[in-house]
Amino acid sequence: MTRALIADDEPHLAHYLRDQLLALWPDLDVVHIARNGVEAAARIAELEPDLAFLDIQMPGLNGLEVAQGIEGPTRVVFVTAFDEYALQAFEHAALDYVLKPVAAERLARTVARLRAAPAGVASDAAMAEALRRLMAQPGHTARTPLRYIRAGQGERTHHLDVAEVLFFQSDDKYTVVTGARGEYLIRTTIADLLAQLDPAQFWQVHRSTIVNLAWLDGTRRDDASRLFLRLRGHDAELPVSRAFVHLFKAM
């Protein structure tokens, strides 16, 4: 039985989509309906459904951000009323999406496609690329990559060479910079950092994480085939979300 989660900030829209899906796909099990992006992300991590129907515009985290944070095997289907640029990107990357208002015939085609073939590594890579393009902050195309970071630690500020940074991780309003000699807080968002850092050395591996490849020690795959990174000089492992797993396939 296929298990699905639906996320939409307007619950009746989610319920309507569920009813339409069940009519076409009677043995689909809708395990949860989430009202915002934060709830959706938490429930996807907890329940690991096979499918997640994510409305793009949701409070908390938008649908794309939720997709970027999925670590497990959940396959994403985006739901939107109209987002011209997102739709172009989805078409281009051959990603699954559903349009609101729901048209039965169109939904039937999407369902047939979802039932026919599991999404492979290729579609993960396509999704990562589409998400990266859609979420890039405009006006931030740095010509020379960022080399130093000014970071706060209590009352003092530090001047950090990016080569000494193991990884960046977003934490609510701040970004935590984990360096070889301690942790620092900066206000720059992950998206802004990504646009400024050297893409050959720094990889985004999760919605909230950018790692410095120079410090990469190795990877581990768990029973549920989730991928984790080990960094030199850091004890805890970092999860890699589904959309970025393909980056490590060739290594």
Binding site: H12, N36, Q137, P138, D192
Partner: protein
């Protein structure tokens, strides 16, 4: 081709009062000198045809002094304009460049006339010394010279007038084009809103028919108010607020308890004239960037006051705030404010402003316009 374009740009920049010019000084000096030579030749031809000159060798004897004098006049005139650009306060220079203002035209003409008279004085003093030709004597004694002077002044005035008219026309055309483009941009009901509303009605018909009905009614009211506003360029605050109210009501049906809103405006403010579709983009921003992405939502307060002959409209939300990273996918984020500022600039010059301030929490947009009373108060816009 390139030279031609540069010269044409130089020609235009000669007559524009602006602090900085894009065309190099050398090219502009060349254009001015060419103008002086053309002017001298034109004047002499006029006198030759109409002036009844009976002295022999008149043409050859007068050519050089005439060119010299015209060079003096043109360069002094342009020098005066350039000096004015530098010495006058920038705000005044800005006002004098406004071709739609007749006072600006008169001030500029006076400045030009002063430059011409000064240039003639300098020319008539220097040139005789240089070429050993007594122009003053000739000027005083010959009716031809007097005719020349009169023709010259007439020519300058005619040229000035023609130039003024052409610039006015050009500016008018540019303004029309801009207006048309903006109307086109504004004329689009946001597709996302349209499809989302339809999706809402589709699902509510099964689960909550009364709410589906309310949604359709509110959406119709919004469309009607919007369509009316889109045909207008000059509207009233009352009509603007009516459109805003239906828009917020529509979002309230969707966001339920996540959105509260209030609209406050007195009678005088409601009747105030203002450009159409100025308020709507500010309220859309408050919803899209402020409240929609926020988990708990929040409130929007739209208020308008008339103070000291100004109409001030405030749109305040307690949402994500200006510092929050933009999570919207729709391009045109931030374009709305730039568009509004461009419209204010073309219509009011420096007489109106739109400011965005960080409130704690949220964002406050303040629209500051000259107050113009409308024909009558528009009823039914309060809420």
């Amino acid at each position: 081709m390139q030279t031609k374009t540069t010269l044409r740009l130089a020609w235009r920049s000669l007559w524009e009062l602006r602090r900085t010019h894009s065309v190099p000084t050398g090219v502009r000096l060349l254009a001015a000198s060419l103008l002086a030579v053309a002017l001298a030749l034109g004047l002499m031809s006029t006198v030759a045809v109409f002036g009844h000159v009976d002295r022999p060798n008149w043409w050859m004897a007068s050519l050089l002094p005439n060119i010299g004098i015209c060079l003096c006049i043109v360069h002094t005139l342009l020098g005066t304009l350039r000096l004015a650009e530098r010495l006058l306060p920038p705000a005044l220079v800005e006002r004098m460049s406004d071709v739609r203002d007749i006072r600006a035209g008169m001030a500029l003409s006076a400045l030009a006339l002063f430059g011409i008279i000064l240039g003639m004085t300098i020319g008539f003093t220097i040139v005789p010394i240089l070429v050993g030709f007594n122009v003053w004597g000739m000027f005083a004694s010959l009716p031809a010279a007097l005719t020349k002077f009169a023709v010259f002044l007439l020519f300058v005035m005619a040229a000035n007038w023609a130039w003024w008219r052409s610039r006015l026309r050009e500016q008018q055309l540019r303004q029309d084009a801009l207006d048309a483009r903006l109307r086109l941009l504004q004329g689009q009901i946001e597709p996302h809103l349209l499809f989302n509303t339809l999706a809402n009605v589709q699902s509510l018909m099964d689960y909550d028919p009364p709410r589906a009905k309310r949604m359709l009614e509110t959406f119709s009211a919004y469309l009607r108010a919007g369509m009316t506003q889109m045909r207008e360029t000059d509207s009233t605050l009352g009509a603007e607020l009516e459109m805003t109210r239906t828009y917020l009501a529509l979002y309230q049906i969707r966001m339920e308890e996540r959105l509260q809103f209030r609209i406050e405006a007195g009678e005088a403010a409601l009747a105030a004239r203002m450009p159409a579709l100025m308020l709507q983009p500010l309220v859309e921003n408050a919803i899209h960037y402020g409240l929609e992405p926020k988990l708990d939502g929040g409130s929007v307060l739209v208020s308008a006051q008339v103070e000291d002959g100004r109409l001030r409209v405030r749109v305040a939300d307690d949402g994500m705030g200006l510092a929050a990273p933009s999570r919207r996918l729709r391009p045109g984020a931030g374009m709305a404010v730039a568009n509004l500022r461009a419209r204010l600039q073309t219509q009011f010059g420096t007489g109106a402003s739109l400011s965005l301030e960080a409130a704690d929490p949220g964002t406050r947009a303040v629209l500051d316009l000259p107050y113009r009373a409308g024909a009558g108060a528009v009823a039914g816009a309060g809420s």
